[in-house]
Amino acid sequence: MADVANANIPDVSSDLRDKLLGHKTVLIWAGLFALIGLTLLIQHTAPDTLTAPEHALLPVADWLNQFLDWFAALFQPVLRTISAGLAFVLNQINAILAGTPWIVTVLAVLVIGHFAGGWRFVIPSALALLYILVTGYWVPTMSTWALVFVATPLSILLGLALGIAAFKVRALTHPITVSLDLMQTVPMFAYLIPVLILFGFGPVPGLVATVIYATPPMVRNVYCGLEKVPNSLVESGQMAGCSPLQMMWSIELPSALPSIMLGINQTIMMALSMVVIAAVIGGFNDIGWLVLSEMRKAEFGNCVLAGLVVVFTAVIMDRFSAGIAKRVRTPHHASEAPLPLRYPHLSIGIALLVGAYLLSLAVPALGDYPKSLTFHPAEYLDDAVAWFTSQTYAYTDAIKAFFLYGLLLPLKIGLKETVNPFTWGFEPGPLFFAGYFALVAAAVAAARYFAGWQLALGVTLLGLYYFFGATELPWPAFVATIAVIGWQTGGWRVASIVLGACAFVLVTGIWGATMLSFYLASGAVLVAFLLGTALGVWAAINDRVSAVLRPINDTIQTIPLFVFLIPIIMVFLVGDFSGMLAIAIYAIVPAIRYTEHGIRNVSPTAREAAAALGCSRMQQLLQVELPLALPDIMLGFNQTVLLGLAMLSITALIGTTGLEQLVYEALAQADFGKGMVAGLGLALIAIVTDRITRGWVDSQRRAMGMARRNGL
């Protein structure tokens, strides 16, 4: 047993060392540092190195606008017809939901809850629904539900079709993958305008945008599920003489059902998260609109009350769909009982609902919730927040200042510009800078000694980044650095993706804004990743911590992006720190989860081997488990970046600068081209990070002799 582990671990480092110390590698890294030094020296004499040279700019935004005009002229009539159809369906469903006596709707939800998870679902759901009724948000909530009920089936159908197509037609796999990446990374604000122009004003554009955003997880899960169908099953189907269609319906899809159900669950959550954001357009009196307009008015009490409705809805829909998925997965035995007894929920449910309906005819208060029974504690909340901020602002200001002066400002404009009497309390002299570089050098040496060249290089680059700042870095140095990292992790393929992405950002003239987004996202991701990994390790070695963290993680992931901002700006106000905080909280979850998962799944043989060699628990963790879990941890990093960027695009609402603000601005000016270019810039940051991380993970896994990860 010990042999297995021993054979595994040294292999990793020796393989890497060989790769890193290769002749070419050394030359390339040396060249990179020479280039960085040179551009830093000449940047004040050559302003073209800070922003892209203006004569090289291409009017990509104009081209996009021309394309949209052409496209709209051609397809608008068709799309407007579709739009009218969707609006009809949506309005009907909304009318039914709003027209149904509330007591009937509440009971229906509770019966479904009991079906999905028994009494432990029923009671919290009842409380949540009671909250919605008492705060007086019932009618707009029904509108939001209507939006979700129309958007989700559309996403599910579209996702099924695309997932099957990607699986069956190999030529389509790659184009579909790229589209999914774009659908998930281009911020929704960027495509609201074209959708508005093509589909017309009203709730439909929001619906369409929601479908675009909510479909990818379905596609990915369908594909993943189909890929996992055992070969033996397919072969037996073929032997039985199934036609391709029969194969799909009676063998492959049923076998992929668990994955598909997971996809449905994720799709519902995405849809709910986006429905709120799509409310920017208006046209439907839904909860999203209320949250948004209260937030714009700084009516935080109202905003929190309406935001809680979204949170409760999200939790109900998440738990219910997960519970139903679980029931679907556990096979049922055909029962011989008479029909009503075979489906107890259905029959009791119908009886209950009919009874409730009749009762509501007799007692009107059970149909329309009486206004006199509502209680809207917004004022008390406002007072409480005002009191809280006035009591604690000394502390909150200190936290804010610490992160602003210690992390964000250095990453933005560099340590050399940050330190002044106002921020750090003194004017920096040569001694201060010498001390800083000595510290970096010590950190690099330590990294080299304990973890190898890779980390040492990483620390060097971070040290430079912290000193010079994203907005002050000459672009050739930045581009070259990312390209070399891409080459190192994923070969020429990834390096060329990096160069292509950088070229796009440069010629479209969004370099400056991209750097601002990069700085905020990287600062927030850094915090989320370090903290998340630490928590993940702790959760992996301590079951109690794990049990505490799990429901917190679940809740963070179910709360729609947008609702996050509310408490943060109440306490920390507008600006980059609030943006960072929102991003870090939202993006920390995958860092925790993947780390815990990775460490817990380290093969027991490796652990036993380490124990047999007499490693202490700490040694075992640092030298065996962490290195082996590193690929998983890095996948968590990848997810952290993706979620972080999703949140970044929303932080435009609280005054962050960068690409997200350009996208939001373009939305206001109805300028599709501008918004799309900036949106693509954000998408490219996500895609480049993704390719680099995956390239690294794959090379690690190859080195460890693990299989490559599958999936879209």
């Binding site: 508005l196 122009i197 017309g200 004003f201 009203g202 554009p205 920017v280 357009i281 208006g282 046209g283 439907f284 009196n285 609109w289 948004l292 307009s293 209260e294 937030m295 714009r296 008015k297 700084a298 009516e299 935080f300 004022e379 005002a386 901020t389 006035s390 602002y393 200042a401 602003l404 002066y405 400002l409 933005k412 404009i413 002044n420 106002f422 921020t423 700006i569 109440m570 106000l573 507008v574 600006g575 980059d576 435009a652 609402l653 609280i654 005054g655 962050t656 600068t657 603000q661 939001y664 601005e665 939305l667 206001a668 000016q669 109805a670």
Partner: protein, 333 residues
């Protein structure tokens, strides 16, 4: 400000007099106000994101209802509504502010799918505001030259603008032009967009709780002026020459070295409105409120917490002459 208020009083008295006169001359009675509508289709009025606009819209809508029309209030984003009006999905929007979506307004009117319905009647003021207590630390205020004094500018500084002052600017989507003005006026100020109006108000509230200086780009009419002690920075008075002639104003080499001109607030409607609901169209054209009306109701709703519907209904009951005059004017034209 007092002058403005007096002007408003005069205006209001004028409106009342005209209203009374109109009610007197035409044999206008309640019976005539309600008529068979030309079309039973619903007139859709856009409800945007701020309370002032809700008041303006709700009053017009309630009068239209009394005239016999079916009216619906559609929530609509400030920019998306223009597309809705061009397509006829929204019948009219009643507060389009100059300096914000002027460009979209012009584009919509030029497309002939939308028509301008004239002024809404409210006058706006835009500029830089600060809590009155800042004057204790910087006595030269409200004169803008006070901000030239580094000690005053430093009061408004934050970490990332130090030693320059920070101005919390309009959200970028409102297309502010402060960067140009700051440069033209030669001030050490950095303009930071707030992201949303709520964020600006939050900054103001928080600064006032802590008695800290803060400089914000803002507009009136708005309820904050009723609730807090706030002053405007007095910038050189705006004149057309300020924008055309660099020589005008304190900076001989730049335009934009002045405050903002008073902007218009207009109504915009779907081009098909006149044909479909001629009487409603004439009413929407005739409809004109003033600042006092809006401010009074703003105070009731945003400050005293009264319900919008209730406040508007009360106003309608108390001021039949005013709104009947609009209808009479519409019927006379």
């Amino acid at each position: 400000m007092p002058i403005l208020k007096r002007l408003n009083m005069l205006l209001l008295t004028g409106v009342l007099l005209v209203g009374a006169a109109a009610a007197g001359t035409s044999t206008g009675t309640a019976a005539e106000i309600k008529q068979e509508p030309e079309s039973k289709d619903t007139i859709k009025l856009a409800m945007n994101e701020w309370t002032g606009q809700h008041i303006t819209t709700k009053i017009a809508g309630e009068v239209l209802k009394k005239m016999g029309y079916n009216v619906e209030y559609v929530t609509a984003g400030y920019i998306p509504q223009v597309q809705g009006i061009m397509d006829g999905d929204i019948t009219a929007t009643l507060e389009v502010w100059e300096h914000t979506i002027e460009g979209n307004y012009d584009k919509a009117v030029d497309s002939k799918k939308a028509v301008g319905l004239g002024d809404t009647g409210i006058t706006t003021k835009e500029g830089w505001i600060y809590p009155s207590y800042v004057k204790e630390q910087c006595p030269e205020l409200p004169d803008w030259k006070a901000l030239k004094n580094p000690d005053c500018a430093k009061l408004f500084a934050t970490a990332d603008t130090y030693p320059k002052a920070r101005l919390i600017d309009y959200p970028t989507d409102w297309a502010p032009d402060n960067v140009e003005r700051i440069k033209a006026l030669g001030l050490d100020i950095v303009a930071k967009p707030s992201g949303s109006e709520g964020s600006s108000v939050a900054e103001l509230k928080s600064a006032i709780t802590r008695k800290k200086p803060v400089l914000i780009m803002f507009y009136s009419p708005h309820w904050i002026f009723a609730k807090y002690d706030i002053d405007w920075v007095e910038l050189p008075k705006s004149e057309p020459a300020c924008y055309d002639d660099p020589k005008w104003g304190p900076n001989p080499d730049a335009t934009h070295d002045c405050g903002w001109p008073q902007g218009w607030v207009r109504k915009l409607g779907w081009a098909g409105t006149e044909k479909k609901w001629p009487r409603a169209y004439r009413f929407l054209e005739a409809y004109k409120i003033d600042n006092k009306l809006q401010e009074d109701l703003l105070l009731k709703i945003d400050f005293e917490g009264e319900d919008l519907d209730k406040a508007v209904a009360e106003w309608m009951d108390a001021n039949p002459d005013v709104w009947k005059a609009w209808v009479a004017k519409a019927d006379a034209s």
